[in-house]
């Protein structure tokens, strides 16, 4: 049931981001004021961190579901949480680099979309971090019945945000 709910929310989130991506393409094609921006280099490192977090959360999930190893699960889960925070921190560094170049939200449609897409993704990821922290804290209680289902639902959501980010990065890089 929780997995159904999370999967459904992914459909809604996907529609939201596809609408923004379509707007990106339309706005770039119809206006004559689009100035491409070079992505800050740190974003590639951020992407590597996020992809790594997807792997660690999968390891954590399998430790819990397949082998029932709660201690290993909690370790891998903690690593994932740390990587997620690192990613968000890295994104903020990327924003500051752009701001230093004089590129702000309203400077150019390309920078508007850059801030909007990264912020919208970041907001969803922040929600995922809250879920990660919640599971990390509750997982310490041995009697928690919903540990497996909560871990599974969070992992699905986290993988989705990882894939979504790769898509957005490719759009921002090759669609500039």
């Amino acid at each position: 049931m929780y997995l159904t709910g999370v999967s459904l929310s992914l459909a809604a989130i996907l529609m939201f981001f596809m609408a923004l991506a379509s707007s990106y393409i339309v706005r770039k094609g119809t206006g004559n004021d689009w100035q491409p921006i070079d992505l800050p280099r740190i974003m590639w490192l951020n992407t590597a961190i996020l992809v790594a977090s997807s792997i660690t959360i999968e390891v954590a999930r399998r430790k819990l579901i397949a082998s029932g190893d709660v201690a290993a699960f909690r370790n891998w889960w903690a690593i994932t949480t740390a990587l997620g925070m690192l990613f968000l921190g890295g994104q903020i560094v990327a924003w500051r680099e752009l701001a230093e170049q004089g590129l702000f939200l309203s400077t150019n449609p390309s920078s508007s979309f850059f801030y909007l897409l990264t912020a919208a993704h970041g907001a969803h990821l922040l929600f995922g971090l809250v879920a990660l922290l919640y599971v990390a804290l509750r997982a310490a209680q041995p009697a928690w019945r919903r540990r497996a289902i909560a871990a599974e639902a969070t992992a699905v959501y986290w993988h989705f945000l990882d894939g979504l980010w790769v898509f957005l990065l490719l759009l921002l890089n090759f669609g500039r």
Binding site: M1, L8, A12, M15, R27, P109, S112, I149
Partner: protein, 582 residues
Amino acid sequence: MTTHAGAVHVHEAPTGFFRKYIFSLDHKVIGKQYISLALFSAFVGMFLSLLMRLRLAWPAMKLPFFPDGILPEQYLALVTMHGTIMVFMVLTTAPQSGFGNYFLPIQIGAADMAFPVLNMLSFWTTFLSMVVLMGAFFVTGGAPLGGWTVYTPLSAIGEIAGPGQGLGMTMWVIAIALFCAASLMGAINFIATTLDLRTRGLSLMRMPLTAWSWFITAVISLLAFGVLLSGGILLLLDRTAGTSFFVPGNLVVTEKLIPHKGGSPILWQHLFWFFGHPEVYIAILPGMGLASHVLSTFSRKPIFGYRAMVFAMSAIAFLGFIVWGHHMFVSGMSPYVGMAFSVLTMSIGVPSAIKTFNWLGTLWGGDIKFTTPMLFALGFVSLFVSGGLSGLFLAQTSLDQYLHDTYFVVAHFHLIMGVAAIFGILTGTYFWFPKMFGRMMSEGLGKLHFWLSFVGVYAIFMPMHFIGLAGHPRRYADTSGAAYLQAMDPVHYFMTVAAFITVAAQFIFVANFFWSMFKGKKADINPWQATTLEWSIPSPPPHDNFAGQEPTVYRGAYEFAVPGVKDDYIEQHVPPEQVAKG
């Protein structure tokens, strides 16, 4: 999807006032909260429409709050708020979130919705959205002027475009963004409930058509509201952060050059109508499900073509996502694109006709009981057909060039999505009132309400077709500008008088509603001799619906007039060996 034991929600009946009535987790209380919000909103919306009708019939009339008469820009604010409140707070809220919340879990044999906390959150977010929306009346400049579609660029550049386009417009966007979030939460809950909480024996193809319509509507909401939310965020950034998503360069408004540049106003129309057209089906599909349900019950016959009804609703939902361009035929789109949208739009006539003929097939040869809910369901079919036929005219690009933005369009969408959906809501109220409150509504007052409303709405909206064909544009505050429009003034008088009589008739409904709640005849468990699960539990239902005993379902939802059986119906939960023979 995983274990069944963990899926059943058991929460104790709350005792404190706040937990019981305000921040309740009980789907029945939340359903009533939604219905109350919709009822209040419907009266606000009707009041606004009466002000508009007064302005159209007697432009100079002085009114309370309007010492100089209603100014043209105030008229536009009334148009905008009437449309927004009615579409979002009434047509989207009552049939789906209201009745759906109350009866979906009961009809599928569940103790509650899948996510009760999310359910409560979704109602209170909707409530907050309504508060922010109403707040737009009271801020500097008043309510926005852009119509419920708030077309860019005039909605994106602030108060230079008109008094209500300042803070009022910003509040409109925030209210709609909140509403999107609330609807998405509701949609997730409805779909998960339908998929995961159906009781033993209730396969999808045994579900009542009402449950099917709520399920399909939730799927539409899930896919549509995210798109409107993205458009709303872009619009909000254009308004407040100086971006140029929708505002083109070199735009001059009231002799001032607008600093934005390069944006695409048409982009807003695409984002809005990609949501906006499915929204029409969000409003009407629950009414379709309910009309099917009620027509079958009071014809004492199984629904004609159950499977066809399910597939037709699914087809309408699917087609609804690929026809949005028919709202934009005059936006300068390529004629080839327009032709594609036109053909797709007219193809919606096929599933719609399947539904209509199945309704007629259900009635054919039936032992028809003309109760009040049955009358409103028949009224729904009538209005759906009347409004649907004019849709075939508007779907053709060549005719739409002329009819676009005339009263013909106003007549069309009011009949098919406005009053048809309202008749669906009233059908549900009269049909389910005995279950919700344990008392019957007065049939005499109900029938009086029906006939006055039925004749009334046709008297209001039929003449709009004619003045639309004669070229009367919509959204004009008066006809003083053109002689050919002044010739149509008598029609405006007629429609205004009809509107006042029709709105007055709604107070019969309100009186009946509250009188019956306290003084009505006691309702037994199954006053309509219906077959679905809500009629197998007490009226009103207890806190956990089935008292912890999940029912088992043995058959489909429309077993009426079964040969060789004592009564003319078999309820879904009655085991085959207990069916009385006779």
